[in-house]
């Protein structure tokens, strides 16, 4: 079973690759709307990719209010556990 740190690392790596942003410029506390310059529909696209990668399901309603990578990683990790 992976740790939360590993989940966060994978999340940031995937985001870095998809949005062409250097990995070391992404931080857990970053607001991903702001950092990635994306809207709510694009976030849904990102979530679909994350679901495929982690082989989990992230319901839209569970992600209300989540805006930063750290909390998103927590939510993904809770689904992996």
């Amino acid at each position: 079973m992976s740790t939360i740190e590993e989940t966060l690392k994978q999340l940031l790596e995937l985001t870095s690759k998809k949005f062409h942003i250097p990995f070391d410029q992404l931080n857990p506390e970053d607001d991903f709307f702001e950092k990635l310059d994306i809207n709510s529909l694009q976030v849904l696209e990102l979530l679909t990719q994350l679901e495929t990668h982690f082989q989990i399901e992230l319901p839209d309603y569970e992600l209300q209010g989540i805006k930063n990578f750290g909390t998103l990683a927590e939510r993904i990790h809770s689904r992996l556990s």
Partner: protein, 576 residues
């Protein structure tokens, strides 16, 4: 089953009307809830009633009394409606909250409304509970849905456990009167202090009756609920209306486009309320599919659309349109009667595009303060250029019209709110002699249709004495290849700027990682030249942040203007 005449005059309250409906339609399906493409459950009216009564009993056991306020903070799902009915059953006042607001805003509204009950979802509860302002929550009964078993909910109740009461004694139905407050609805139109609109049972019952007289529901019809249920439109046409008429409401629990598309054929949807942005996305998707047809197929399709347009020029003929354009209608399930939209500006060409395919878009106009809608397009005939005619029982006046007949829209109707919670001054400014001053500008044409042209505050008067409304001009710049844009009066943004020689500016938010190119500038200039000279935009500003939007995705113009004024001066404007 065919539509029937709806008479709600004998009901003293929403609770009573819903109670009657639950008995009348007991074996019909009230709710279908799906998680993406997997169906979670279906509830008959009888099952819905049974679940709501368990909640009502538990709420009464917790001390929830008639006239107290119960807030709902949830995304669209069955339990939203179950909770609302339970609150009405207890004689409570419903406070529907927007789940897209921040925890801090939720705290502020809960405090303002003085809610004694909160029913919410686990992820939202986690956000609220983490917030430092949670003192307010300690005095409330909080019920949390979707909470994992065994989770410590920090004083809140788990929905499953809370409903375990065996109903040895049923809850007591608490009657309310027409003039009692049914809901406190917070208007998302502006920032600043919360504005809680006090809407009575009478407001809602009258609104329901007039809307259903034009767009009836009946048992077997299905409504797809996408707009948040706390929103006035979905609350009426995604809950009160269909329930009173015995129809079915479908919740998907996702907004991912791929699942929305498949829901239409899967559930044979008859009505769906959407924001213009979704209509635009559907239009783009359809046009993309059309572009992939061979030249001959495209020619045939165009002829069929022309024939449909001709044959439906006086009124919609759904059966005929479905025969002429079967594949398009099959993609929407073959039962879709209309898209319902309102609130935000809908592009007339988009409305016409769908009407020509045989799918009317019912465009309307309303404010939270006026219930749901005051004008709606009656499709007799379809008009893409207006927001429709006043609903039965509504009178619209145009105050101090200018030479073109444009003035502030004033509404007289039994559906107008009692006032704003704890804001007597603001109420007196907004409702004068029983007339609601909307702050919106419009005119009425010879057919009685209302044309909406803008907000009172964001407008300019040219040196030639002509009034120009930025929202009216925005349609001219649609699809210019930017992420979003907005037009302001320069003086509206920088309020201390000169009042002489008022000018218009366009604020551009570019697509991510795309530069402002000479080609884009050329396109903007070309579009600008299409306008009469006195209506042209003088300058542009590149803005680096997403525009603030309401839950229904309308641009929060006031907030955007304030933000621009705070961060830069008019010297940053570049002339076009």
């Amino acid at each position: 089953m065919k539509p029937f005449t709806l008479d709600l005059s004998s009901y003293p309250s929403l609770g009573e009307a819903l109670r009657t409906a639950n008995n009348k339609w007991a074996n019909h399906i009230a709710l279908i809830e799906a998680d993406r493409d997997r169906e979670n459950h279906r509830l008959t009216y009888s099952e819905f009633n049974s679940m709501a009564l368990k909640l009502a009993k538990s709420l009464q056991s917790s001390g929830f009394k008639p006239g107290q306020r119960g807030a709902i903070l949830m995304s669209n799902q069955s339990k939203w409606l179950v909770s609302a009915y339970a609150i009405f059953y207890c004689g409570g006042i419903l406070v529907p909250l927007d789940f897209k607001l921040t925890p801090s805003e939720h705290h502020s509204l809960l405090k303002h409304a003085q809610s004694t009950v909160l029913i919410t979802e686990y992820p939202l509860w986690m956000g609220l509970n983490r917030s430092i302002e949670n003192e307010e929550l300690t005095r409330m009964t909080i019920v949390v849905t979707e909470a994992p078993d065994g989770e410590d909910l920090k004083g809140a109740q788990n929905w499953k456990r809370y409903l375990e009461d065996k109903l040895t004694q049923p809850p007591q139905f608490q009657p309310r009167n027409r003039e009692d407050i049914a809901c406190i609805v917070y208007s998302s139109g502006t920032g600043g202090n919360p504005k809680g609109c006090l809407l009575t049972h009478d407001n809602y019952l009258r609104q329901c009756q007039s809307l259903m007289s034009w767009y009836p529901f009946w048992p077997g019809m299905r409504y797809l609920s996408i707009l948040p249920t706390n929103h006035a439109i979905d609350f009426m046409v995604g809950f009160i209306g269909p329930f009173i008429c015995g129809a079915t409401v479908v919740h998907l629990r996702t907004l991912r486009p791929e699942y929305l598309r498949t829901a239409f054929p899967q559930y044979k949807i008859a009505y769906v309320s959407v924001v213009p942005m979704i209509l635009n996305a559907l239009e783009t998707n359809l046009k993309l599919k059309f572009s992939k047809l061979s030249a001959f197929q495209h020619w045939i399709l165009k002829r069929l659309i022309d024939i449909n347009r001709l044959l439906t020029s006086n009124k919609p003929r759904p059966a005929l349109s479905r025969k002429l354009l079967p594949k398009i209608h099959e993609a929407f399930g073959g039962q879709l009667r209309a898209f319902i939209t309102g609130g935000a500006f809908a592009n007339p060409t988009t409305l016409q595009f769908f009407y020509d395919l045989g799918i009317p878009v019912v465009n309307g106009y309303g404010l939270t303060e006026s219930g749901t809608a005051v004008t709606v397009n009656d499709l007799k005939p379809f008009r893409s250029d207006t927001v429709g005619k006043p609903l039965p029982g509504v009178t619209i006046d145009i105050l101090e019209p200018d030479q073109a007949g444009i003035g502030e829209i004033a509404v007289k109707s039994q559906t107008i709110m009692k006032g704003y919670l704890n804001e007597p001054q603001l109420t007196a400014q907004t409702i004068k002699n029983g007339t609601l001053l909307t702050g919106d500008l419009g005119w009425i044409d010879s057919c009685g249709h209302l044309h909406l042209v803008g907000r009172l505050k964001n407008m300019i008067v040219t040196s030639g004495g002509k009034n120009i409304y930025p929202e009216d001009i925005e349609a001219n710049f649609n699809d210019i290849g930017v992420k979003e844009f907005c037009i302001f009066s320069v003086n509206y943004v920088w309020k201390r700027h000169s009042l002489k020689q008022e000018k218009l500016m366009i604020v551009l938010r570019l697509e991510s990682n795309l530069p402002f190119t000479p080609l884009l500038l050329k396109e903007i200039r070309n579009r600008n030249l299409r306008l009469f000279d006195f209506r042209r935009v003088s300058s542009y500003l590149i803005w680096q942040q997403d525009f603030p939007r309401t839950a229904s995705l309308k641009i929060k113009r006031d907030l955007l203007a304030e933000s621009i004024a705070r961060n830069c001066g008019p010297e940053l404007l570049t002339n076009l």
